[in-house]
């Protein structure tokens, strides 16, 4: 979808990059890079550049801190789409541990387990013990709420949280809010935050300076991606109205097992890959269920997200990288191209 707005974005991108490569040319180059895509936000205007291993080091150097988002580990899943989700989670953890800089913490955006079984949570905890980052923040997915009201999940990960498991914390000047939109779901609906949580969120944000960078994280996307498959949150609009006044807002979600990004004013939305199995793009399959890919391609459609924060510049770089980072050719339609999809 072109038009005035798109033209404006392109213009601003050119100004930022200053390297003679326009957006379309960049996208073509990107297909060759294969390693990852860096999205930079500067006061809400998106900029992008190709990301190679050396760039990662310098991105980290300039950053005040970094953290990693992982999602949808689905420990306990054992069907053909991935018969060993614990192994692919382990690959993701090894990837985190191989980073030149240890992230300050890890955020897991839900569906830790497949069936909310204690043994599944145990296995997850055991695996995460081997991560270089020792602080891990969680929010539940719908698969973690399968025992009554998510009591198994809350018992393990709910300390200090309110209601269905929501909470907030501050880290080096950035305000993080973990939201739960997978509880008390209504027939025919999508994700739901609920009145109580919305009231708490409004109160939590009240009085904070508008220059405070905000990061919201929840399992189901807080923007409507594909209602037929439940990919959205019925009452997210109210939540987003509370963050409208802030200068930099980042929304991190999971649930859809693929990368989707959108920028709306000063709010940037991002969904992560799963560490367990991919799911089809909206409407391209009869349902949203696990998508089988050839075994040698599995690790290219699973991945982690590295977030680099430069507080002074109010800029945030989100780097998605697949578990398999071997260079892909331009003709391959792996995670390289899905990184570049922007909802308009």
């Amino acid at each position: 979808m072109r038009g005035k707005k798109q033209g404006l974005i392109d213009q601003k991108l050119q100004d930022l990059n200053n390297d003679g490569v326009d957006r379309r040319g960049f996208l073509k180059c990107m297909a060759w890079a294969g390693t990852g895509l860096v999205w930079t936000l500067n006061g809400g205007i998106p900029g992008s550049r190709a990301f190679a291993k050396t760039a990662e080091r310098s991105a980290a150097k300039g950053a005040d801190f970094t953290f990693v988002q992982i999602s949808d580990s689905h420990i306990g899943f054992n069907k053909p789409a991935n018969p060993d989700v614990t192994a692919t989670l382990q690959t993701a953890i090894s990837k985190i541990n191989a980073m030149p800089h240890t992230p300050d913490f890890i955020i897991h955006t839900g569906d830790l387990s497949q069936l909310s079984k204690p043994s599944e949570f145990d296995t997850l905890d055991q695996s995460l013990k081997g991560a270089s980052a020792k602080q891990i923040y969680f929010v539940p997915g719908e698969h973690d709420m399968l025992s009554d009201n998510g009591e198994q999940y809350l018992e393990r990960y709910g300390k200090g949280t309110k209601g269905t498991g929501y909470y907030s914390f501050d880290h080096k000047g950035v305000h993080f809010v973990g939201l739960v939109n997978v509880a008390n779901l209504k027939a025919g609906g999508m994700g739901s935050l609920g009145h109580e949580q919305l009231e708490w969120l409004e109160d939590d944000l009240n009085g904070r300076s508008a220059s405070t960078p905000i990061v919201l994280f929840a399992h189901i996307p807080l923007w409507t991606i594909y209602p037929d498959w439940g990919w959205g949150t019925d009452d997210s609009e109210q939540a987003l109205s509370y963050v409208k006044r802030f200068g930099s807002v980042t929304v991190l979600n999971g649930h859809i097992h693929q990368i989707m990004q959108k920028v709306e004013g000063k709010v940037s939305f991002h969904t992560a890959m799963s560490t367990a199995f991919p799911q089809p793009a909206p409407g391209t399959a009869p349902s949203a269920g696990p998508m089988k890919v050839p075994a040698d391609q599995l690790q290219r459609v699973l991945g982690i997200t590295d977030v680099n924060y430069v507080v002074s510049g109010h800029s945030l770089a989100i780097v998605d990288s697949p578990l398999d980072t071997s260079v892909s050719s331009a003709s391959e339609n792996g995670s390289g191209s899905s990184l570049l999809r922007l909802a308009r």
């Binding site: 698969h143 399968l146 779901l185 027939a187 609906g189 949203a288 269920g289």
Partner: protein, 118 residues
Amino acid sequence: MTRTNVWVRSLAIPAMIAMLLLAGSPRVAATDQSSTPNAEVKIDNFSFGPQTVTVPVGATVTWVNHDDIPHTVVSTDGVFKSKVRDTDEKFSYTFTKAGTYSYFCSVHPKMTGQVVVQ
């Protein structure tokens, strides 16, 4: 053999046969069907099939999960609620009262269905 005994014996056998017959026959339902046909709902591709199933009072509906993702079967009016059902697991409910029962999957709430009991 006394005369009383003979009299008792001549009645006893038909009486016994009659009792056996009565004991063996199914209880007659409110409808004029002598048995209550049950129904099966297949869960596949994040949907209930058929989405609407019609059964007589007293019928049992069995949901079978053919998806490789777990689902639940939860009545919107609190009438029935299954535990989480993984692939190949089943949930059954016997409907003893007429009515329309809407239900959904509490994990994937876009999945909805109806049981019409008449």
